[in-house]
Symmetry: D2
Subunit: 312 residues, 4 copies
């Protein structure tokens, strides 16, 4: 089974060389450039390149505001102001490129974010690795009863073991047949010279959705934060959240001030509806208000109470 | 196994009602609206809605050109002119919405076109159907020796049978285990009341890439033609081309003049490189020119000769 | 000076014909189809075409949620749920196309929304009309002292009159010179046969930014609501807000349930920051909290107090 | 009147500092980083930042093709192959950011390319400079008689002088009134303390379309080449072509191999229609073919003959 080092095919990347540049740099991000940060059992996230830092956000904003904002001398205040007021275009002026290895069923969620540039490993050209995601026992859970798309309580340990074994067995058998179809072993040697190999674009259909794929994924800072706000959220599937959490660390290294503003005005914030605001206003005036009077459904009411830390 | 009718979940679609509208209509497209057009073994393409027709392209172009083009009185000439000169924005003024059922490995190719709006069936919420794509024997072919990503000659009939049987067996076994994990049968009945079902978002990872998914897919005419130019091409994988071919028929019904222009200036056309043009110019002047003199590689030269119908 | 009727160049639009269609229709929107709705002194908004209605949002959502949401039988509840949880893709399944006439300086703000399809009247091909926006006296205001980009109190009536007269005079003179450059009058007759006309692409540079242009503008429902949330807002410039307000009426006619949800969860809602939520939580627990303790700047604090209706 | 140096407001850019980075660099582009390259009378193009170089294209392509393309050892061949076959995604993996100063009527053409990120100088916040584009006498031409949107022969020198003088006079007068409206001089001093200044968002409408604006403009390499193919073309308006030509030089410095491929397969190439190919095939077989037989209009025929260098 391959090591992380072997999983990083672009050995021609200038991983150890140091160049001189007039461009702005992000020192903390430079430290981990090219380094595979492990996610799940065989996945990783690697920062491959980036453009801009916190100062680039400020520069772009100052072009928009021109002389009129000379007074806004402090970068931190300006970045917080931009984030608070959803002035998103200056954040689009920074860009980052990742190399990511991830299970196919997660890649299918991920690709729905259409604002990134992507180059994925092609299973029409090439042979996928013999690697598939098998969850750790603590992540094997039942369907949630509250939430149509989430996980609920853990399965019994017998059921968990049964599921894990079957996942392994099915993925491995299907991969073995995939190789047999291709008539090629892992080193690219022909298995049976008397036969032809099935076209790769066909053979791949026998693989399971927990096989790993990989891609280069490039996105601007604004759209990255949008992705992370959705995917590092508690409603996201654990397996994609595992990637988003690691990427939050790279965000913090890259643009520490924007990260701080992101936590304050996105991640830690909440959107309160018109009825929700009216309810809070009445509460603050000391009036009694019930769900029935609020104009909100029971579910909305419960969500608001949770947001306000008023759940008993 | 489900019939096509059963595969179309939105029974609340107004499939048989007739409404009155002041909007332009496309009569030939109205004829097949909502009708599932079969593709592959279990897939389909259905046109669900559309906006605009050939006249809408002309209207939009005339806003751009204003009074200056009153002379361009003929719609056909104007549409051909726009296509020939890559004036693409008037084609963006028409929109179409499809409901498509397709194998997951094809959905993964398809979704790389980022300019469409998509709502896909969610396997976090819902249970996928017990259906998977099994190629017809005539489509079981070996890896191409010329082309790194294509198919070459047919496999032997024994190998073909072997591959088909194994594809069926593996897909069905993995689906059966999926259902067992969910602890739910096809009708949504709990199989073993003493057990919990595994979360759907986890169970799905055991499925094979030839399982069918479905989505609503909405795109403007310009981007649809770009998609079709790539996917109805002989270099595209057979399975996605099968969809593109059916969609070309819907294009022809929808905007017959634009379709004609598309055939003339996109599908049937070729881009000739700078060196290729110089080569043709010399040939037309009666000069002898060889690959070595042309500045082109052997492969480029061969492609040009094929385009010029000069292959011996 | 042209009337609204004369401003609508596409006389080949099927404005009075009635067609039959199997597509869903939006009856209240059909009523005003093609009708120019006046905005500012010479501008208008006309709905030219649309695709889908409230039911199309629901259909698309049900494809995503599949059998799992059969219980969500009520469309209104589902649409509110989608809007509340920012599940935006089903709203992308509806599309609308407008014909809009607007001053150039407003067109420059508007075009920054990149998610629409646009065909603009081309001043390289055609001659712009002799029309420019002159604000009503009540909209002539001074630069705001609080807000770097807004308007403050009214100017004196003398100053107002002075400004209006000069705006008229400068725009008209520059237009007259434009026509002289072109050597063509409003009817397209050559003014002085002994001269050539300056190229239109050059002559236009003499025009002022309050000249009117026009375009076809097509957008999906999700992105339209994003546009309207920003441009029907009190921070938007009055002149673009005038357009957004009229478009809100067309939104209400088109998709009445989505409009209601938009009002509840976007327009009338507020995003409260992490510090803001902590402040509200403390207030609701009866604790005293001051701006200094809140972690917010004075400006943020003031904004929060205004949102909570706690401004004295 | 401002010098180029004064026109570059972001004096906090690290223009002279040298940093160390592990990222790939483009040495020839580093040489001109931050340097304003003059365009037209007061405009400029400056490269502010970039991500990637020719090797980044190759890296991204090799992720897609995986082990299957180990044989494609030569970068140049691979980049040419990608360009020739319109495999565009690897080119999206490079990004560049420009600071550009340009006349408003050119900015209006430019912004129609929706695939870039933009931060424009805001005339709601800030005061525009007293600068406007006045064409050189040799660029003052009449409307083309062949081409509805182009320029034809030069105007007489009297007419040229007349036009230039009037352009100057009108632009300056309107700018003077703009300043009077604002009640602020170029240094930001209040002109008449007894008066209020008109809101900037209103005052700007009196300016002419040849006033200069500026923006940061960030785009990926694929979309940049698409922009340049259209805007460095002989059909583009001279004033935008002047910018595109300078940007071609920056492209050549940044990614010299991709630039070479761009010249070969885009700029110097031609798309030949289905009928055009059939015509060439017949000519090469020595058959006589006339426009009437070709299925092409006279105009198409003439264009083809020009492409084939067969115009007499």
């Amino acid at each position: 089974m391959s090591t992380l080092a072997a999983q990083t095919p672009n050995s021609d990347e200038p991983q150890t060389e140091i160049f001189q540049t007039k461009r702005v740099i992000s020192p903390a991000l430079e430290e981990i450039l090219y380094e595979p940060l492990q996610v799940l059992d065989h996945g990783f996230v690697r920062v491959i390149d980036y453009m801009g830092d916190d100062s680039a956000i400020v520069q772009a904003a100052r072009v928009s505001y021109g002389k009129g904002t000379k007074r806004k001398s402090q970068d931190r205040g300006l970045i917080h102001y931009l984030m608070r007021h959803m002035h998103t275009t200056p954040f689009e002026m920074c860009e980052i490129k990742y190399h990511i290895k991830l299970p196919i069923f997660i890649a299918r969620q991920w690709i729905r974010h259409r604002t990134a540039n992507v180059n994925e490993y092609s299973a029409r050209y090439s042979i996928l690795d013999n690697e598939f995601y098998i969850p750790q026992p603590e992540h094997i859970a039942s369907q949630s009863e509250q939430n149509n798309q989430g996980r609920g309580k853990a399965l019994s340990s017998e059921q968990t073991e049964y599921v894990i074994n079957l996942l392994k067995e099915d993925a491995q058998r299907n991969y073995d047949h995939y190789q047999e179809f291709l008539n090629e072993d892992a080193e690219g040697n022909i298995i049976d010279p008397s036969k032809d190999g099935l076209a790769r674009e066909l053979a791949r259909m026998n693989l399971t959705l927990n096989c790993y794929t990989q891609w280069y994924w490039k996105i601007d800072l604004h759209n990255l934060m949008h992705f992370l706000a959705l995917r590092a959220d508690s409603h996201a599937q654990y397996e994609i959240r595992a990637y988003a959490d690691i990427m939050l660390d790279t965000l913090k290294r890259w643009v520490p001030i924007a990260y701080e503003a992101f936590e304050q005005y996105r991640q830690g914030s909440a959107r309160i509806s018109k009825n929700g605001l009216a309810t809070i206003q009445q509460m603050l005036q000391g009036k009694e208000i019930t769900q029935a009077d609020s104009g909100m459904s029971q579910r909305e009411w419960d969500e608001l109470m949770a947001t306000l830390n008023l759940t008993n």
